[in-house]
């Protein structure tokens, strides 16, 4: 049995960002993309398991969940939803600018995305503060004055609320860290139409975090509002 071999095609490529175990930039780009998608699969199952717990307890304790959800601030939640949607736009535009070699546009979009992310976290902090003030944090101080009979079950809502939005906020913070790194690299001029994979996969991550919120908002803020 013989093995036919031929010289590395990587001799054609000498982009400084080409890693030695890849043959071409294209292969490297596709690998990064696939890697990020597979990571997002794990995130879908991760948040998904939390949604399962949420779905179960909501099904079981629907009235208590309605009572609890009424304490949610729809205005702040709605603004945050818009903020994240806007940030998804800036992220998409950042990919566009990197694909078309527009460094300034890329940098502006990256900065805008981060500002919007910080705004989201700021609003979230305000909301959390309100919750603390109104004794809605699970634990011995939890109170639900408007429906004391449902308090124990409403507490379950808040356990899940804080867990899910807390985990989401944690992912936002990581996203901000990633974008800080991307911004630094963009300012150094590292990205071009030939090499923009990090911008693209950073974007995929950010869009995912947005999608989680797209589901969190109605599920946590808009239950039984017609009552």
């Amino acid at each position: 049995m013989t093995v036919q071999a031929h010289p590395d095609s990587s001799h054609e490529e000498h982009h400084p960002r080409l890693q030695h175990h890849f043959e071409t930039m294209e292969q490297q780009h596709e690998a990064s993309q696939l890697g990020m998608w597979l990571f997002l699969v794990t995130e879908i199952l991760f948040f998904g398991a939390l949604f399962l717990a949420y779905a179960f307890y909501r099904w079981l304790y629907y009235d208590a969940f309605i009572a609890a959800s009424h304490h949610q601030n729809i205005l702040l939640g709605g603004i945050n939803t818009a903020v994240l949607i806007f940030s998804s736009l800036t992220v998409a535009m950042s990919v566009y600018y990197s694909q078309t070699n527009r460094r300034k546009g890329l940098i502006v979009m990256l900065i805008l995305t981060m500002v919007l992310g910080l705004a989201f976290l700021g609003i979230k902090a305000v909301e959390y503060h309100e919750h603390f003030e109104h004794h809605l944090f699970p634990g011995p101080n939890f109170q639900l004055p408007d429906a004391p009979g449902l308090a124990a079950q409403a507490q379950m809502f808040y356990v899940l609320y804080f867990f899910m939005t807390g985990l989401h906020a944690f992912h936002m913070i990581i996203g901000l860290g990633i974008y800080t790194w991307l911004l630094i690299r963009a300012m150094k001029g590292e990205f071009s139409s030939v090499y923009y994979a990090p911008i693209e996969i950073g974007g995929l991550y950010w869009h995912f975090v947005d999608i989680v919120w797209i589901f969190l908002f109605p599920m946590l803020y808009l239950i039984g509002r017609h009552y």
């Binding site: 179960f56 009235d63 736009l89 078309t100 139409s193």
Partner: protein
């Protein structure tokens, strides 16, 4: 919702073209997402009985689909990407369906 965007071809090392989405499409999706958000808030105040939850989920799913297809470029991605995205939601579905097959059949008192 489908329209054929003008593709701007970007040369890379090999013959593969990276799809570049025109910004106008992005703005359109952005607007749609905001509108859908407003709709979901408005609909929450209407008494639809048991339909409230499925409709809220449906709107959220549409929004997520728009983000996935257009912002995340899945519309122009490989079949492998499609399989991965669909497969992961399918598998989440398995988790939900089989777990609830237990809970729904227990005869639990609700509320």
């Amino acid at each position: 919702m489908e329209h054929k965007p003008r593709t701007i071809e970007v040369e890379s090392e090999s013959e593969h073209m990276h799809h570049v989405t025109p910004p106008s499409l992005y703005y359109g999706i952005f607007a749609a997402l905001l509108v859908l958000t407003a709709i979901t808030v408005a609909v929450a105040y209407v008494d639809l009985g048991w339909l409230s939850t499925p409709i809220a989920l449906l709107i959220a799913t549409i929004k997520a689909t728009l983000v996935i297809l257009f912002f995340m470029h899945v519309r122009w991605s490989t079949h492998l990407t499609w399989v991965i995205v669909l497969g992961s939601f399918l598998w989440l579905g398995v988790l939900f369906v089989l777990t609830f097959s237990d809970y729904f059949s227990r005869g639990l008192p609700m509320n």
